[in-house]
Amino acid sequence: MTAPEPLAATSASPPPAPQRTKPRESASTWPLVDRIGLSLCWAAGIALCLVMGGILAYMAVRGVQYLRPSLFFESPTPEQDQSKSGGFLDPLLGTVLITAVGTLIAFPIGVATAVWLNEYRRPWGLARAVESGVEVVAGTPSVVLAIFGLIIFQQSYFGFLSLTAEGDAVLGRSFFTAGAMMALIALPLIVGSTRAGLQQIPDHVREASYSVGKTKAATIRRVLLPSCRPAIATGTVLGMGRIIGDTAIVVILLGASLQLQSVGDVPGLSTLKGSGSTLTSYVFNNSPAGEGQSPEKAYAAAFVLLLVVVALNYAVNRITSREAPQWIR
């Protein structure tokens, strides 16, 4: 922007700048309580930034010095000698797999739930029950979900989802079962974000669609869902972040095998029926807090994990900054 040209008559002596109180002076006239409050707000923000910066810097220093390209391409092996124990190819693939399974299950259910809650809500009692159900799932610790999942998926009629041992004992641990429980922790985020997106759309937009003779279903499909696409994407990416970062479900429901272990001989399906590990369980098992075999590799893997999560956050920012349609209310 260019400054407006001064008027010819006044160009000789520019008008004096308007007097403004400096923010600092303004705050000095505040009551003491308000000034303490303001300083606390500043302190809280800066402290959070310092903690985040500290974690990132520490992980970068510890992680990068142990990070080798070979770590990405070698499967882990249970060796005491750290030079032979391989990399984290399998945990990396496991993270990708379990995120994919969890998201694929959570996405359609979450979007459908949000649409039903926001657009239909009938009967009212059921809608309230679904709402509190979603809230309860959102508040349940993932370790509880994991134990619950183990009980469910060890039932014999879920045997097709995981390894069935001798004597018809169902293991209940596989990418399928862990992914299904992971879907539960992503679900509330997708439901919440989609509902927020739908609530942003004013009612007259729906009525405009009905007014050219469209049904509710057509309106949802062609107007409402496209309008809240950024919101749905945000919820999904946030959900993926939760799945990637979760450890309890992996440890309990995926088994602790270092490498991907297939069950059955159908390509792809056999991997999903089998067990494996993810970056989180790899970090846990290798860190000094866990089995403590190789903290170096734990740091490297943790650094990769952190990078993935930061990248996802960046993606969320990009999506939310993309313009959602704006109407006058």
Binding site: V205, E207, A208, S211, G213, K214, A218, R222
Partner: protein
């Protein structure tokens, strides 16, 4: 000499406008009396086609729960002329308008009595999506859908949620609707641009084009200019006057000048009652009811 002081007189008797001189239809551009000094010019001219009744309300009442919003209103809606609904806020104008294409049914507490007919057929007997294609509505706020200009207009032409028929098959109909809404020359160079990137006035004309694409018999306009600037308002008013020969038009407006400019018949509503219905000259110049006189006089006096 000091500048003249403007006096504001509270509780003054509302001034009633003089009746127009006897003349053919009274459709001159300059009207004597107060209107001559106001920027209110008639856009109307005698319609080329004779007015044909398309819709009729008989003893129409609508209530939200216990609150009666529309009380036993009977009105005709004619093609070839514009019917304006005027009245203070909360008088039931918009409710009446929304009942014409059964949008009131979306409000769970709303109940309706009386009869509404479209070409002699009870609207309750017409399948609702079919009815809404024939009686289409444009809203107060411009609300194009988040898709291209072309797809917005084509939306009304396609079957429910379908994306087909594809563009070539629909292009003539879309162009026709955009031309009727007076928007085609402004958007013809790029029909793929996002509709929400248009200006407010263009968005509103796009919404009119979207409604016109389905070839409705009746077009309902709910304060279509209240979110727009004066120039866009003028363009849309001219459009309304032009369109009235093709479709029957009902417009709800808070702007009495606008009602005067575009309407042929005016219905004045107050607290759910239809106080007076008649040609625009009667309502604005020779109102029969005291309440009409007060309302119209208050606006113009």
């Amino acid at each position: 000499m000091p500048p003249p002081i403007k006096r504001i007189v509270v509780d003054r008797e509302p001034r009633v406008v003089d009746p127009p001189p006897p003349g053919p239809g009274g459709n001159g551009t300059a009207t004597p009396g107060v209107l001559a000094h106001s920027p209110t010019l008639r856009r109307r001219h005698s319609s080329a086609v004779a007015a044909v009744e398309r819709m009729a309300m008989r003893e129409l009442s609508i209530a939200y729960g216990e609150k009666v919003a529309v009380n036993s209103v009977s009105l005709p809606v004619r093609q070839g002329e514009v019917l304006a609904l005027i009245g203070p806020s909360g008088c039931g104008k918009t409710t009446l308008l929304r009942s014409l294409n059964r949008l009131t049914e979306l409000t769970p507490t709303a109940r309706r009595w009386g009869q509404i007919t479209l070409d002699g057929e009870d609207v309750d007997r017409v399948e609702v999506t079919h009815l809404r294609r024939r009686v289409s509505m444009v809203f107060q706020q411009p609300n194009p859908f988040p898709m291209s200009v072309f797809d917005n207009v084509a939306y009304a032409l396609r079957e429910q949620g379908a994306r087909k028929p594809k563009r070539p098959a629909l292009a003539p109909a879309v162009q026709d609707a955009l031309e009727r809404a007076g928007l085609h020359s402004e958007v013809a160079d790029d029909l793929d641009r996002q509709a929400l990137r248009l200006s407010g006035g263009q968005q509103q004309r796009l919404c009119i084009a979207r409604s016109l694409a389905a070839n409705p018999d009746v077009l309902l306009l709910d304060e279509p200019c209240s979110a727009l600037d004066p120039i866009s308002t003028e363009v849309i008013e001219q459009l309304i006057v032009r369109l009235r020969e093709q479709v029957a038009i009902v417009i709800v407006t808070h702007n009495l000048q606008q009602a005067y400019r575009v309407a042929d018949h005016v219905a004045f509503m107050y607290l759910g009652d239809l106080v007076e219905y008649g040609p625009v000259e009667q309502i604005f110049h020779r109102p029969a009811a005291k309440r009409t006189k007060d309302y119209v006089g208050g606006a113009f006096g």
